[in-house]
């Protein structure tokens, strides 16, 4: 066919300009702008940034303070009676029952919490999206099998499974990550499946099919981008759940092996000493609370910012 003549058809004369001042901004950019306006979400984001900084810079902080997380400072860190020392200039947050610097331990605990929280979430989301997408898109036998599988996983009693697994394999960081990811992916999968089921009925998917697009292309190019919003929201809200999950595991002694500090095992140890060392209970708990709260608030903000119901065109009639 010969080249297309480049004359625009005379439907929009020169002096007509569409009264549209909006720039070429993607839905994600618009959401980001909305998020920036949300004060609470921004404060949470900054808090998380600080936490990440703390986690990454833990060795530096330890070096600056001059204390090590696992060293027991018996002379300076314990009273003559052998009890923990309260917050002071030398020990910013006090010490624990073995004379270890609580501040440094909390700082190092941040590493574990964030690492496990983020990695297990990422794994869970990856698995959930893959399975949910396949189930929702292909339907039929594939869907029946995968959906039932997800239902089974969701009905597993996590504690019993965790205990069983740990007793066989032994507690460790890797096991923690795996257990948490295993119990989180199915919820993501269910949501993704539901979204996929509704997206695949949309006309633009039909249009892609009529153009001859294959299943894989449709899944990745047309369906997946439209899943991003709920997936991002869910991810942001899944991280604090994973962090609490990890703390629970280590609280029960099923997580990371001591003496590595985690907030969970610190809390667990602290309970015996709450009468004599309130700081031992308070500060790890506060750290956990702050982190969880920050992620949850950020997650709420992200969800509001990504709310697709805000159509840019106002059609009043």
């Amino acid at each position: 066919m010969s080249a297309v003549p480049l004359e625009a058809l005379p439907t929009e004369p020169a002096h007509v300009e569409a009264v549209r001042i909006i720039e070429g901004r993607s839905p994600l950019r618009l959401a980001w702008a909305r998020l920036r306006r949300d004060r609470v979400a921004m404060v949470s984001a900054v808090t998380i940034a600080i936490l990440v900084g703390v986690a990454l810079g833990a060795p530096v902080i330890a070096h600056l303070v001059g204390h090590d997380p696992n060293t027991q400072y018996r002379e300076t860190g314990l009273t003559p009676d052998g009890l923990p020392v309260g917050p002071s200039r030398r020990f910013l947050l006090g010490t624990d029952n073995l004379g270890r610097d609580l501040f440094i331990r909390v700082v190092y605990g941040t590493r574990i919490s964030l690492l496990v929280g983020v990695v297990s979430t990422v794994l869970a989301v990856a698995a959930g999206v893959a399975v949910g997408l396949a189930a929702g898109y292909f339907r039929g036998a594939v869907d029946t099998f995968l959906a039932r599988f997800m239902d089974v996983v969701l009905s597993f009693p996590f504690l019993l499974f965790a205990i069983a697994l740990v007793s066989i394999v032994g507690p460790s960081l890797t096991v923690s990550i795996f257990v948490i990811a295993f119990f989180s992916w199915a919820a993501v999968g269910r949501i993704v499946r539901g979204q996929t089921l509704s997206i695949r009925e949309k006309e633009y998917v039909e249009a892609a099919r009529s153009l001859g697009a294959g299943d894989l292309r449709i899944m990745f190019v047309d369906v997946l981008p439209n899943l991003m919003a709920p997936v991002i929201v869910y991810t942001t809200l899944l991280i604090p759940t994973a962090i609490v999950f990890e703390s629970t595991l280590s609280f029960l002694g099923l997580g990371v092996v001591p003496p590595t500090p985690t907030w969970g095992n610190m809390l667990s140890d602290s309970l015996q000493f709450y009468q004599v060392a309130w700081w031992y209970v308070l500060f790890p708990g506060l750290a956990l609370l702050t982190t969880t709260l920050a992620f949850n608030l950020l997650g709420d903000g992200v969800r509001d910012a990504l709310d697709p119901s805000t159509e840019r065109l106002f059609a009043a009639s």
Partner: protein, 354 residues
């Protein structure tokens, strides 16, 4: 055997949707007779209009033609090739030749993709032109349909309904198809925008030698754009004729009722017209009436109509292209308005003088 002038032949196409119920094993409880034996041919360069109300099966038929649905039975022959049973891979090259424009300007474009990417999709899927060459061709298309090519990187949400429909048109025309199925392309648009798109489609048809199947429920628009028109009711074609013949001398009572019901933007004509008001609503395609499907609502129905389904054939004194499926077609002397029990101008004997 096959007429080289005929682009599309639809032969006894049937599409039923089973209704399944059951807990463990799903059993078929009934079927939706969406399309129940439709046949027609479309010649190169012509526009065949397809009209009908909800449940008539026109949209389902469109999707059968483009093989978005598999046929329950019957054949779809495109350019001499029977595409009804081809596998997906075999069908792939035909996807370049048969394209579809969808009704909903807000739903037919992926909101998360840029317009340039959406229009470039056909090129990507069929491995034609990539990189800067593809971009150039996409921008050419945008100009052809009346969009500013500089808006290549914008998202659908930044365009109005009419502009989005132009994007849909550009996407459909990217690979220079032979046949374009337009499924209610202007129904969701404002009146002033509808005319823009209709004109655009007409110009493109001339420019690129396209053949259209134009599906709509607005009779005025169908009449304006079509060379021939087919009227569907409950999964069957009840009448098919050149546009002028159909509108001036409808032979099927349903066509006559439909035409009399259409709204006309002309007060004198609206006043003069005698409305044929049909009783009741369109029956469900799950359990269509026996014999002629229209017989329960037809002002001319007689005993035979409940028993014997009529054939779509030419009636004596009609032109050779005018086919009607009716045992007792409308005659010039008929007063269907009276037969339907609703004589006279719309409710209006007692209307205040203007």
């Amino acid at each position: 055997m096959s007429d080289p002038d005929v682009v599309l032949t639809v032969e006894n196409v049937v599409k039923h949707f089973p209704i399944r119920q059951g807990i463990v094993v799903k059993r078929e409880m009934g079927r939706v007779h969406a399309v129940d034996g439709v046949s027609f041919a479309v010649r190169r360069g012509e526009t065949l209009g397809l009209v009908g109300e909800t449940g008539c099966g026109k949209s389902t038929l469109a999707r059968c033609i483009t093989r978005l649905y598999d046929l329950t039975s019957g054949r779809v022959i495109f350019d001499g090739v029977d595409i009804s049973r081809l596998s997906r891979r075999q069908l792939h090259p035909f996807r370049r030749e048969i394209q579809m424009i969808f009704q909903d300007p807000y739903g037919s474009l992926n909101p998360r993709r840029r317009v340039g990417s959406i229009i470039g999709d056909p090129f990507a899927i069929h491995g034609i032109a990539d990189g800067s060459q593809r971009k150039r061709r996409v921008q050419e298309l945008m100009e052809v349909v009346g969009l500013n090519p500089e808006h290549y990187n914008r998202f659908p949400a930044e365009f109005s309904g009419g502009q989005r429909q132009r994007i849909g048109v550009a996407r459909a025309l990217a690979l220079r198809p032979k046949l374009v199925i337009c499924d209610e392309p202007v129904s969701a648009l404002d009146v002033s925008i509808q005319a823009q798109i209709i004109n655009l489609l007409a110009e493109l048809q001339d420019e690129f030698g396209l053949t259209y199947v134009f599906i709509a429920h607005d009779l005025s628009i169908v009449r304006h754009v079509s060379d021939r028109v087919a009227v569907m009711y409950l999964g069957k074609v009840v009448e098919i004729a050149p546009a002028r013949d159909l509108y001036d001398r409808p032979r099927h009572p349903y066509t006559a009722a439909l035409l009399s019901a259409a709204s006309v933007a002309d007060p004198d004509i609206a006043d003069r017209r005698k409305r044929i008001l049909l009783a009741g609503d369109v029956p469900s395609p799950v359990d269509p009436p026996s014999g002629c499907r229209f017989h329960p609502r037809c002002p001319k129905a007689r005993a035979r109509c409940a028993v014997e389904p009529p054939e779509l054939v030419r009636r004596p004194s009609d032109s050779p292209n005018h086919l009607t499926a009716c045992h007792f077609p409308v005659e010039a002397t008929d007063d269907l308005a009276r037969a339907a029990g609703t004589g006279g101008p719309p409710g209006g004997q007692g209307r205040s003088p203007r």
